[in-house]
Amino acid sequence: KTKDKCQFLCVVACYRHLASCAGGCTDSLQLRDELRQTREKALTLAEAICRHLTSHLRDKTLPEDQRKEMELLWVAFTSSLELLHVDMCKVFNIGDTFSLTNTASLVQTGLQGGGSEVAARALSLADLNQEPPTLPAGLESQEQRAMEQEISQIDHMIDDMEKKVNVLRWMVEPRGPQYADPLSSTESASFALVSVDEEQPGHEPLFQRSFIFVLLLLLAVVLS
């Protein structure tokens, strides 16, 4: 079930990225659709995990180490559920404030692409091969209503979980390190390329130097 949980965390993370585009200049029907699909996937995963965890934790014959494992999963699951809940509420509110029919009021945030790649990751598809859906009248309010229901569904799920299982959160001990290990260096290097601007504002020569250095490094890696 850890695989499921990882997937769920992945979906929640992707949802957040998509949500951050909402209301901005890249907000579109496609984005809303992607949000909806991600939401649905998240909900199905959540239901499954919820059932599994609840049934296991209510089982009094569970051995101690398995119980600890379950409790860790439980804490992770409830926390991500809460994150999802807040994100959904925020998207709901943004949907209220920003209507797609009036694109002039969308905030010019500087984004250029949509969230399709992120959505693809969330839905575990190679890529989203979809045409942008057309807008039948009243789709937005329908969407909002559906969203309301989904939010209250999560509400109830959280409530239910709290009532059915008594996990003492403060007793749960994490297994991982305090600092997340940096991912592989090539990944972070390419990231550094683009983000150098923020870390060293106005240091033009230094930036160019590090740019050249990284290029050389990549070249070296490729050649070796």
Partner: protein, 483 residues
């Protein structure tokens, strides 16, 4: 919408109520208009250009001045812009830690609505922890000192969630990599700006934190005070409550029977007649209440009379007289305050006064000093002293005295009324309004004057006065009952 928005918010973080948020949002939305809004320009980075940047210079100032239809000087427009930045609607691209609008070519960008400041959802520490973890993933050791401290603090406080936080940070990092590079940059800038506003480094004024800092001071003082407040163990306080309830249960007209009958139910006013403030023969219940506490005795006029009688026998009546004088001063009109205070001083406190009371030197000193500028509560210290004296000393002796025993013996315990239906109806028909409060007050004042004139008196006069009063009051009532 009945969605529970505030999730697990235990009110531990102060959230400023900011009505300005809605107004700021409106202005920001109007700025987006392609025709009438602010002019946007692209930001050039090394490998890419990112659109939608604005400068702090004239175009924004121009927009604001135009749009708000007021004659704004450029400095005012700039401070308005700075306010939008401080709140978090716009963020500076370079020099991201200073949330002000500079009158040069430095660039700013609009913040995405997801990261707009809002009152509905508190800024979660979980999110902050994930953000810091993400930054650390990207480049180890990049966290600044205050961020490091926060990270450690959160690690201690949210330890149980830490696996989740690290995993979620990794997932968000991986999801971000799916996006195109310019968008990734923009998102990073957005997130960073969001956290500069909501978790500012020390001494950075932001729109959300100024009030936060002020209220943190208030919270600290509040906590200091609550630590120093004297506290009672709940077992003790509950014990006191239980004792009180047990003591007064029989005397409560709701919880137990009201003898002879509850006037509100039977329309028979005997109960009130028997319990008039200055009735000669009190009821047994009333006398019993005097034994509960000294406060009960003093607050009941009949009890106070009895006590006064006892004190006269003991030749320590001046204590009670002083106490009553202080009460008079406290509750009297402001105009008469000064002379009352002087009168009390002359009668009770001055050296060689006719009814000198015995209070300790320190209290006397404080009181005399206070009397130079008399106010309502100038005699409080002395009054408390005398009250405690009476309570600890005279009260105990009173309860054992023959005066009290006599009163208790004579106290009546009326029979319970048993009215039939027709009698009840007759009572209802014979209802009469009571004396007007004005008349009652006049009577009280007459009595007080008589007392003042006769004080200090010997016992026989007091007794005759009491019996005279007793004969006055009932006749007015019994005529009603005999109908």
């Amino acid at each position: 919408m009945t969605i529970r928005n505030v999730l697990r918010d235990h009110g531990q973080r102060y959230r400023p109520r900011m009505a300005c948020l809605k107004k700021a949002e409106k202005v920001v939305l109007e700025m987006q208009d392609p025709t009438t809004g602010v002019k946007l320009q692209p930001q050039r980075l090394v490998i890419t250009t990112i659109p939608h940047a604005i400068t702090g210079k004239t175009d924004r100032a121009f927009f604001i001045a135009n749009h708000l239809s007021v004659c704004l000087f450029s400095s005012e427009a700039r401070s308005f812009g700075s306010m939008l930045v401080a709140l978090g609607y716009i963020y500076p691209i370079q020099d991201h830690k200073r949330l002000v609008v500079k009158p040069d070519a430095s660039l700013y960008r609009f913040q995405t609505p997801y990261f707009w400041p809002t009152q509905q959802w508190p800024v979660e520490d979980t999110d902050y922890a994930i953000y810091l973890a993400k930054r650390n993933i990207r480049k180890k050791g990049i966290l600044e000192l205050h961020e490091q401290e926060q990270y450690n603090h959160l690690h201690k406080w949210m330890n149980h969630k830490w696996d989740f936080i690290v995993m979620q940070a990794k997932e968000q990092y991986r999801a971000a990599k799916e996006r195109k590079k310019p968008d990734r940059v923009v998102f990073d800038c957005q997130e960073r700006a969001y956290w500069v506003v909501h978790r500012p480094p020390v001494r950075t004024p932001t729109g959300m934190s100024l009030s936060l800092q002020k209220t943190i001071c208030d919270l600290i003082f509040g906590d200091l005070q609550s630590i120093m407040r004297p506290r009672v163990k709940s077992s003790v306080s509950i014990g006191a409550l239980v004792k009180y309830c047990a003591t007064y249960k029989a005397h409560d007209p709701f919880l137990s029977k009201c003898l002879p009958s509850n006037p509100w139910l039977t329309d028979d006013v005997t109960y009130w007649t028997l319990n008039m403030p200055n009735v000669e023969i009190p009821t047994k219940m009333r006398v019993e209440r005097w034994t509960f506490s000294f406060g009960e005795l003093l607050s009941d006029p009949r009890g106070r009379d009895d006590f006064r009688l006892f004190l006269k026998k003991e030749f320590s009546g001046e204590n009670l007289a002083f106490w009553e004088g202080c009460e008079d001063l406290k509750w009297g009109t402001a105009a008469t305050m000064k002379e009352k205070a002087e009168q009390i001083y002359k009668t009770f406190l001055a050296r060689g006064a006719p009814r000198w009371i015995n209070i300790d030197g320190k209290t006397m000193e404080i009181t005399v000093k206070g009397l130079k500028h008399p106010h309502r509560y100038v005699l409080d210290a002395a009054q408390t002293h005398i009250y405690m004296l009476m309570k600890k000393d005279s009260y105990g002796r009173y309860l054992k005295s023959p005066v009290f025993k006599e009163t208790m013996k004579k106290a009546i315990c009326p029979e319970e009324h048993k009215f039939s239906e027709s009698q009840l109806e007759q009572n209802a028909r014979n209802r009469r309004p009571s004396l007007s409060p004005i008349v009652i007050r006049q009577q009280e004042q007459e009595q007080k004057a008589k007392m003042a004139a006769n004080a200090p008196v010997d016992i026989t006069q007091v007794m005759s006065k009491l019996s005279k009063q007793g004969k006055e009051a009932p006749p007015r009532r019994t005529s009603v009952n005999n109908d």
